[in-house]
Subunit: 309 residues, 2 copies
């Protein structure tokens, strides 16, 4: 990695460097722009505000983790999670598992023990598995890059996703920051009360094997730095080592002044495609060999705080 | 994610489950074994001891990080790193950068400032770039899985690697835990004094763009949980937030009693291939759809403490 001074220089450089590797196609023969330059030049219409009705705030002593839910892929789970949040189910629960290079998991650590489990209120206690959905009606923005895990990969409404055209189905991919619903062995054993977030190399083997309900859009560093549990699978022998959860709230339940305003780059925008291309084929003073490829989980999903007014 | 009790059950299960997805080829038609079962049945000859002459101990207040060096790919850098370790160059330096989902970087935070930089002792101050090497003479164990970043991927002496047969070259891949030599824009601007370890989604775009010198084999959780730097690229505005490095030593310089004995599964062993296959096509009570694929950076690289005697 370059040192501070030099890489800052690269990031701020306004001069495009002539192409390095294979000659670009005619349509692409234009000066290289860094992601930062592309984002700075992006029109406001390429961004969207987070919908407060599908945004969760996970509140820890260290700060707030902002999560976007994906009802278009897991409507039953997201509805149940919304109920659990409204009824303050998670307040006083904990992050009770942290397995390095895999997941942090949170909810009621005693949820499996009928004698100790926290009541679920009016939430449903059984849901269908929502591992995938019909690909019909989805605005799936395919990326051109090959993927070993799925026939096609791309983005839907800001979420990394995969599609199997032959079977007409689509599902959300496990990338860094993916939020999933923990389950036992039965495919329909998750209800959204127990959740996990991926914190390492993308565990794509979980794709279409578990119900994905959303992703973290801000605050990942609060989860990724949690002390790992020393027991197998990252559990803690001592409950005092767990990370307390102060609360999980739907953003729309908080007064506007207490919300975290965030804009996300629309994954159906030209700016998004340009950013992905700027990472796929880097032409700058640092990179000597553009990769000519980007993996689904390496595509950046830019988030910003909207400017006032 | 399954809860404790249930997944433990899956891991310990001694009963093989009949195949789920596509029918296996005749040669593979044998009872499924979990990775744990495969490892438990492995012969001692499929394991190797870490070579203390190419092992570094990075000592932090939180514990020891064990690193295996890769002189077969970066001989000049590894020789220089060995010199720097012998001369205690890193003692009292720090981890001065932690960027979420990317890298931690360490060494002399003032290394770029000639007025403040720590003397390099007898280490060399200029080295050639060692981004890749000739593929000739390498025992490259190719995996059958497709990869978007390189024509072929696999393992060499325990390291995830890539190969380009057309150009006769090979290089080490950036997976979780890869150790690289920080550089400035010039390809030959690294000398191994400034190092980084990848702590998130594999940044394969760095492959063959920077000199990889080794990988962490134990203690990743001490690096991955370091508080992220709030400044751009994960730097800290306040030097007090950096993580002090007590020392970096070559294992062979410590008395045997102070070393961390470790065995690594040989990546040229049948056990290793069997473990990869057990992850590529999982057949157990939890997984409903075997992936039929594994990415290079998802293949486990088992490490164990040798049993006494």
């Amino acid at each position: 990695m370059p040192t501070t001074a030099r890489l800052t220089l690269v990031l701020l450089s306004v001069f495009a460097v002539a192409a390095g590797a294979a000659p670009p196609a005619a349509a692409e023969r234009r000066p290289y722009r860094s992601s930062q330059q592309i984002l700075e030049a992006s029109p406001a219409s390429h961004w969207r505000m987070l919908d407060p009705d599908r945004t969760l705030y996970l509140e820890l002593a260290s700060g707030r983790v902002v999560i976007e839910l994906a009802p278009q892929f897991a409507p039953e789970h997201v509805a149940n999670i919304t109920t659990l949040a409204r009824e303050h189910f998670w307040d006083g629960t904990s992050i009770y598992r942290a397995q390095d290079n895999f997941v942090v998991q949170f909810g009621d650590a005693d949820g499996e023990d009928p004698a100790k489990a926290k009541p679920l209120g009016t939430a449903r206690t059984h849901l269908p598995a929502e591992f995938h959905r019909s690909a019909k009606g989805l605005d799936f923005q395919k990326i051109p890059d090959s993927d070993g895990w799925a026939p096609q990969v791309g983005f839907v409404d800001g979420f990394p996703a995969a599609r199997d055209g032959a079977h007409g189905k689509a599902w959300l991919a496990h990338c860094y920051g993916t939020l999933g619903a923990g389950r036992n062995n039965a495919d329909d054993s998750s209800i959204g009360a127990e959740l996990y977030v991926t914190i390492g190399q993308s565990p794509r083997q979980l794709d279409d094997n578990i119900t994905v309900v959303g992703r973290v859009v801000k605050g990942m560093e609060l989860l990724s730095t949690i002390r790992r549990g020393p027991d197998p699978m990252g559990f803690y022998p001592d409950p005092a080592l767990r990370t307390p959860i102060r609360s999980i709230r739907l953003a729309s339940e908080l007064p506007v002044a207490e919300r975290t305003p965030l804009e996300l780059l629309r994954t159906d925008s030209q700016t998004f495609r340009d950013v992905a291309e700027s990472k796929r084929n880097r032409v700058d003073d640092f990179y000597k060999r553009p990769a000519g490829h980007i993996d689904l989980c390496n595509v950046p999903l830019p988030v910003r705080t909207p400017t006032a007014g």
